[in-house]
Symmetry: C2
Subunit: 211 residues, 2 copies
């Protein structure tokens, strides 16, 4: 039954639910209804119930969902019960910010290594993360068995670096470059495109203005 064949749209919402459940738990709340959740995370309550139902009957009719139960369930489902090690490729402007971003706190993810060509920072430790020169990337990724990376290199080298990443067995790339990189089917790419988001927002706003 489960795990596989969860709709993509549902999967993308899981972290949102997870985060809000954490907040509820911290606040000492014991139960929550789909309606309350809907209000907080801005997702229709029917959609939430449907989303949850893919994983079985997690709630209780007439009662709602037990916060701790649900939290525990999502923790496992989202692999938040074990630490995930990732690497940061490219410590420029945005890369730097991500080093400080403290994924670890909310996320059980640790940036274990970072790579850059800038000799002024290679060999140093930034925000607790060692910065290696790019030449060492393939070797280090193999040694540290890192399968997930955050890619924040300039667009013109993005595809080249990606090829190297694929070669040493990287399976997931969080791609901050504006380029749609090419990878084999077995590798997953999640694109984050800040310029896009802003342009899309501007586009929609202008539509409203005209209507």
């Amino acid at each position: 039954m489960t795990s596989q064949n969860i709709p993509k749209a549902t999967a993308k919402r899981l972290p949102i639910y997870y985060r809000y459940l954490n907040m509820l738990s911290d606040a000492g709340k014991k139960r929550v209804s789909s309606n309350e959740l809907a209000e907080a995370v801005k997702v229709d309550s029917a959609t939430i119930r449907r989303d949850f139902s893919y994983f079985g009957a997690l709630g209780k009719r007439g009662y709602g969902y037990d916060v701790e139960n649900l939290l525990e369930f999502f923790k496992k489902t989202l692999n938040q019960d074990k630490l995930t090690n990732v690497a940061l490729i490219g410590v420029g402007n945005l890369g730097h910010a991500l080093l400080n971003f403290n994924f670890h706190k909310s996320n059980n993810v640790r940036i274990n290594a970072a790579f850059d060509i800038n000799e002024e920072i290679t060999g140093t430790i930034q925000s607790g993360v060692p910065i290696y020169p790019m030449e060492d990337m393939k070797e280090q990724l193999k040694i540290q068995q890192i399968e997930i990376v955050i890619l924040t290199v300039p667009a013109n080298v993005a595809q080249g670096v990606t090829n190297d990443l694929v070669e040493v067995g990287v399976k997931g790339i969080l791609n901050f470059t504006p380029l749609r990189i090419s990878v084999p089917e077995s590798v997953l790419v999640q694109n984050v495109d800040l310029t896009n988001e802003l342009q899309t927002l501007i586009y929609f706003l202008d539509l409203e203005k005209q209507s």
Copy 2:
């Protein structure tokens, strides 16, 4: 006919097309087919043709699309022919990176003002952008008639700040906080959630591993 009733999914892809067309134009390419585009931006060619067709017949059968024509068209459609002024609320870790991000270069967007509570930076100019204290936010946004902001404040103050923004007429918010903020219907929010993206990636990867 046009403008309105463009599918949301299509609208979100427009900036991707736009960027790639710019690259083609810079490289001196005169024509491009939906298949070439598809390869580059990783969107099915039929989807691309369908997307374009919402705006009329932009191409020529047997030939493809004229790069300059198409570029010109999208420039207008995406409001890239006029400068858009935005403000940055919260100059912390991520905010700083966005100040340096140079939206202007690729995007015809300028960050005109930034706001923060940190007295060490208020009154200074960072990357060419003046940093005002938060107390001046409402006043400055009104004076400068800024309708779009980038929100990078801590989660615990996000809703409060948002209320202020709405009050002075902000119409679009690029929300980097993990909170799903509440706004009136007339205000558009685009959420960018870095932690989410990473978690989603990890989730999908784990699914593949199990299967």
